[in-house]
Structures are given as structure tokens and as C-alpha cells.
């Protein structure tokens, strides 16, 4: 368990337990908005929770703290998952989540950094957040002290997004500046709006491409917290070059009728489908609770 007071300390059990609630809150918000991206939010959810609970140094009560680690959601359409994680981390009230995509809400359909604490960059036009993360990592290096870099930077990109030319401009630039304070994570869910990535425009061999661009490459199971944490630890220990984490994920993870279905990329569930999803997630949560020796989960961490 991390001792740093600027990390939200979490046991694996509490992460796993919260993952059910995050998915429920996320789908509830998307259903209330009647539009959004269930598939790619559920595939990215566990990666984001792992970052904000146990990996990143940040202060939800002081979101502009200059030394905070940065998370840039380059695949901006997954932002309901980020809003949900931020709310659970204490950046703002969970009551705000159902205002997703409503007129006047800071929870825009895609991230707007000047409207909400915890959102580091406005994204949604694919390929751009990664470059912004590079600029932040450069600034962190410029401001480094004898203790090291000022902060670390994490960017989450998508499969379809990896078809953008700018991704490869950025992939070329980060190793030049030896940005070992930068981690790029690919939510490798293998789907995009028009179908399977392999049919639309294959990325393969994706890991080899990043290796050829001089990145340290790690693979993990993007739904297994032990695996995600191991990959992040390896990135932290890697010096002199940036790390690319290939996170194997499943689109729609956690809801049986959504899993692996590219049709769930950009369509909101109906109220009936939401109820089915919530029932399934709650049942899975109850089953997990009955087997896990979690004890006082609520007392761990600083969640609201």
C-alpha cells in the first residue's frame, strides 16, 4: 500500500468492489443523457480507477495543485468513465453525474478542461490529448528538482484513435525527449464505431510499432487490477524512455449483453437495458462481497 498522502490508498478488494459501482454510475449517467459511449467507457473504467486510486499523486480537494500527476483522456468519448472516477475520488459530488450532456452542465459530452476540476485537457477530436500530455511531461522535466521530475503524466488513447497520424507524430517525439515521466496506455478493446478495428484499419502489430518507435512496451490485462498495477510499477521503474502500456480490454466489460459488441460503441442503453445491466452488476457485486474478505471497505481510502 502506498504511504504517500497524495495517493488515494486502496486495497485490491476495494478497487474491485468499487468497479461495480463505477460501472453502474457510468451507465446510469449515459442512460439519463440518452446518448454516449457505453462500450469504450466500460473498457477503460478499470484503468482509470487504478490510476486515480493508488497510482497518481493528486489532491481532489486541491485540483490545481501544481505538483499533481496529470491524466489526459485522449480518447475523449470515454469521459463519462472519467467523470465517474473523479466523482468517486472526491473531485465533485456524484449528484452531478446524471447532468451528463445536459445544457449548462460542466459534464460536457466530451471533456472541457475549463469547466470541471480534474479534467486536464479538452479532448474529443482524436489524436490530440497524447500530444498535450507530451507538453505537460516536457514542462515537468523543465521544472524538475533534485527530488526528480515535478510530476508524472498519463495519457489514455484508443484503438480507433491510433489510426490518427498525430499519434505517430507524438510517438516519435516523446522518446526524443526521454520522457520517462510519461505513460501512454492503449485501451485495446478492438472496436470502433464502424466495426472491428481489424476490419476498419488494422493496427497490427501494434506492440511492435511502439517498440520500433523506441518506447518501453508493457502488456497488461486492463480489467485485472494486479496486472494494471504491475504494468504501472514497471513504467515507474523505467528510466530514459517513455512507457507504452498495451492494456487488453473488452468493450462493454462487466455487462454481458454489451461485452465485445461494437454496436455498443456509441449508443446509450434504454431504461430497460440499464435496469438489466444494474441488476447484473449488483448481483456480481454481491457475489464478490460474499467471497471476498473485504471487511471495512468503506473505511479505506478517501472516497465520498
Amino acid at each position: 500500500m502506498p504511504k504517500d498522502p497524495d495517493m488515494l490508498p486502496e486495497s485490491l478488494e476495494s478497487l474491485k468492489l468499487r468497479a461495480f459501482d463505477l460501472r453502474i454510475d457510468n451507465l446510469t449517467a449515459i442512460t439519463a443523457a440518452a446518448s454516449g459511449h457505453p462500450g469504450g467507457t466500460l473498457s477503460a473504467m478499470d484503468i482509470m480507477q487504478a490510476l486515480f486510486f493508488g497510482e497518481m499523486r493528486h489532491r481532489p480537494a486541491d485540483p490545481h495543485w501544481a505538483e499533481r500527476d496529470r491524466f489526459v483522456l485522449s480518447k475523449g468519448h470515454a469521459v463519462p468513465a472519467l467523470y465517474t472516477v473523479l466523482a468517486h475520488a472526491g473531485y465533485f459530488s456524484r449528484d452531478l453525474l446524471p447532468t451528463l450532456r445536459r445544457l449548462g452542465s460542466p459534464l460536457q459530452g466530451h471533456p472541457a478542461n475549463f469547466l470541471l476540476p480534474g479534467i486536464e485537457a479538452s479532448t474529443g477530436s482524436l489524436g490530440q490529448g497524447f500530444s498535450i500530455a507530451i507538453g505537460m511531461a516536457l514542462a515537468s522535466k523543465l521544472d524538475k528538482t533534485p527530488d526528480g521530475d515535478k510530476f508524472r503524466v498519463y495519457a489514455l488513447i484508443g484503438d480507433g484513435e491510433s489510426q490518427e497520424g498525430q499519434i505517430w507524430e507524438a510517438a516519435m517525439a516523446a522518446p526524443k525527449y526521454k520522457l520517462d515521466n510519461l505513460v501512454v496506455i492503449l485501451d485495446h478493446n478492438k472496436g470502433q464505431i464502424d466495426g472491428f478495428v481489424d476490419e476498419v484499419m488494422s493496427l497490427n502489430p501494434i506492440a511492435d510499432k511502439w517498440r520500433a518507435f523506441n518506447w518501453h512496451v508493457v502488456t497488461c490485462d486492463g480489467h485485472d487490477y494486479t496486472s494494471i498495477r504491475a504494468a504501472l510499477a514497471e513504467a515507474r521503474a523505467t528510466k530514459g524512455k517513455p512507457t507504452f502500456i498495451l492494456a487488453e480490454t473488452t468493450k462493454g466489460k462487466g455487462v454481458s449483453f454489451m461485452e465485445g459488441k461494437v454496436g455498443w460503441h456509441g449508443v446509450a442503453p434504454t431504461q430497460a437495458q440499464l435496469e438489466d445491466a444494474v441488476k447484473e452488476l449488483n448481483a456480481a457485486k454481491a457475489a464478490f462481497e460474499s467471497t471476498a474478505t473485504v471487511g471495512a471497505v468503506g473505511a479505506v481510502g478517501r472516497t465520498n
Binding site: 501544481a66 496529470r70 489526459v72 472541457a112 478542461n113 475549463f114 486536464e120 485537457a121 479538452s122 479532448t123 474529443g124 477530436s125 489524436g127 490530440q128 490529448g129 497524447f130 500530444s131 498535450i132 500530455a133 507530451i134 507538453g135 505537460m136 511531461a137 516536457l138 514542462a139 515537468s140 523543465l142 521544472d143 497520424g165 498525430q166 507524430e169 507524438a170 516519435m172 517525439a173 525527449y177
Partner: protein
């Protein structure tokens, strides 16, 4: 008179790209937050001087302008003031990155587009910034500045160190004769009346300001009293000054080394249609592509030199 100034030894005229490069070096001393990004044109944009003096704060990003703009946005979001340099045509053509990463992410990125207009000469249309003002001024929060001489360029760069929000600074390859006096104080958003007059107002920007002043002198010989206003800040536009000129002179002639669509002329028309509708003639590159030639030859061809501007003004007054 009034053509782009030839690069003759001993000339006191300075290209605004040179004034920009010198200002970066000077201000870099006292402003550690100032950083510069470049896309393989540091010799041409004049960011090279800064690169030599402050190598740690200079980022050579290669011929990858989209990534450069994003990296500049990230540097700004982490507290730096990045000047992001390339030719105006190349850097503003990454419009989506400017729109999303630079503007919608609420940064203080300064996009510096050199090689404005047909004034670059021989390289031809592909290297000419001719639609850049139109693109940049269409985005909310963006400030658009085009200085007319070295003093104004230095003032603009200094103002942009503390200005909040994204900005586009347009500089020239060709030398510009000085139109402002020593000790000139740059005021962002304020037009400058260089010549008073009552029969019409010539509103010029950047490389056409010097020629416009000479055109006013040519018109004076014909008994025409032309006012000349230098608009260095195209956005936000100095509407009160332009409305006053419209009221007092009844006719406005805009002159720019840029397409007449969406540039200074477009901005003035939009503003005066609301504030003080009068007859306006937009003059510049008339919705055609630029071409190769000498800077002087092209200014003559496009009637952007003093003779050409005076000719257009006479026609407008008929």
C-alpha cells in the same frame, strides 16, 4: 516607394520575423516561463536565435505541426508561455489542433506564423500564409495580431507574455519600413491612426501598412485626403476607432496581404455592418492563389504597393 523593402545593406527596415526573433532572445532573459517550439523552420521563423541562447527551453519538434501545437498546449497548461513557430500557412492549417488543443483547452499558446502573404516572393503559393487570418479569427477566445514594423513586433511579443488566452502572431519574411516612432507603445486591441484625412480611410495591416502610408501621400498630390489606420490587432478589432473613421470619412478601404475573404476586410465589414454601415472596398488577394515572383513584383502585381493602393483608392472614390 511603398513596395516591400529590398534587403539592401545599410537599410534600417527590419522584417517582423527578425524583430520577433530578437524579442524572444531579449525577453527570454527575464521570463523563464517563455519556451519556444519549432517545426524545422527555425532559420526561417528566426526562432533559432532563441534556440542558441536557451537550448533547454527550445523544443525542436520536427516536421510535425499537429503534435507541436498539442505539446505547446500541454506546456502552457503546466504554466509555461509557449511560442509555437512555423510558416503561417502550415501551422494554421492544423486548424483542428488550434481549435481543440490550443483554444478549447484554454491555453496561453502563442502561434507564430511567419511568411505572411505574397510578400514572401519566389517560393509561391504553397508557402504563403493567405488564409491564416480568416482561420484563426474564427475561433472563440483567439487573439490575432499582425505587426506593421519592428517596434510593433517587439511590443506585441512583450504583450503576449502576460496576455491571457491563445494568440496568433503573423510575421513577414520581407523587411518592413518603420511606420511607428521610436518609443512606440503597443496596445493590444487598439488601432493606430498614422495619417489623418477626411475623404476616405485606408485600413491596413502588417506588410501593407507602409505602402498605405505612401499611397496616402500620392493621393494627397491629387487633392484626396486619406486617413490611414494601422490595425495590428485584427481580433479583438478596434471597432470604436473604425466606426469613428466610417462616420467621418464615409468610405473605408481595407488593404491586406491576405485573401479578402475572412481577413482584415472581412472583419471590418462584419464589425461596421453592425456599428456604422458605410461603403467598404476590400482590397488584398482577390480570392485567387498566390504565385511565384519577386516580393516587389508580387506587391505590384497584386496592387499592394503604394501605386497600386492609390489606384484602387481612386477607383473606389469615383
Amino acid at each position: 516607394m511603398g513596395a516591400p523593402v529590398k534587403n539592401e545593406p545599410g537599410s534600417t527596415a527590419v522584417a517582423s520575423r527578425d524583430a520577433f526573433g530578437d524579442a524572444l532572445v531579449r525577453l527570454g532573459e527575464t521570463h523563464p516561463e517563455l519556451v519556444v517550439l519549432e517545426a524545422d523552420l527555425s532559420e526561417s521563423t528566426r526562432s533559432k536565435k532563441f534556440a542558441k541562447k536557451f537550448p533547454n527551453r527550445f523544443f525542436q519538434m520536427g516536421i510535425a505541426e499537429a503534435n507541436m501545437l498539442g505539446a505547446a498546449a500541454g506546456l502552457s497548461l503546466a504554466g509555461k508561455v509557449p511560442f509555437c513557430c512555423s510558416f503561417a500557412c502550415f501551422v494554421t492549417s492544423r486548424f483542428d489542433q488550434v481549435r481543440m488543443s490550443v483554444c478549447y483547452s484554454a491555453t496561453n499558446v502563442r502561434i507564430v506564423g511567419s511568411h505572411a502573404g505574397v510578400g514572401i516572393g519566389e517560393d509561391g503559393y504553397s508557402q504563403m500564409g493567405l488564409e491564416d487570418i480568416a482561420l484563426m479569427r474564427s475561433i472563440p477566445t483567439m487573439t490575432v495580431i499582425q505587426p506593421a514594423d519592428d517596434l510593433e513586433t517587439a511590443g506585441a511579443v512583450e504583450a503576449l507574455l502576460t496576455h491571457k488566452g491563445p494568440a496568433f502572431l503573423r510575421t513577414t519574411r520581407q523587411k518592413l519600413e518603420r511606420v511607428n516612432k521610436e518609443g512606440y507603445k503597443f496596445e493590444l486591441g487598439k488601432g493606430v491612426t498614422l495619417v489623418d484625412g477626411k475623404d476616405l480611410t485606408i485600413v491596413a495591416t502588417g506588410g501593407t501598412v507602409g505602402p498605405a502610408v505612401h499611397a496616402a501621400a500620392l493621393l494627397a498630390k491629387d487633392g484626396v485626403s486619406a486617413r490611414v489606420i494601422n490595425i495590428h490587432t485584427i481580433k479583438p478589432l478596434d471597432v470604436p476607432l473604425l466606426a469613428k473613421a466610417a462616420r467621418e470619412t464615409k468610405r473605408i478601404l481595407t488593404v491586406e496581404d491576405h485573401q479578402i475573404t475572412g481577413g482584415l476586410g472581412g472583419a471590418v465589414c462584419e464589425a461596421l455592418a453592425d456599428a456604422e454601415p458605410v461603403r467598404i472596398r476590400r482590397h488584398g488577394v482577390l480570392d485567387v492563389f498566390g504565385e511565384s515572383g519577386t516580393p516587389e513584383g508580387l506587391y505590384k502585381h497584386f496592387k499592394l504597393d503604394a501605386d497600386g493602393i492609390a489606384e484602387v483608392a481612386r477607383d473606389f472614390l469615383k
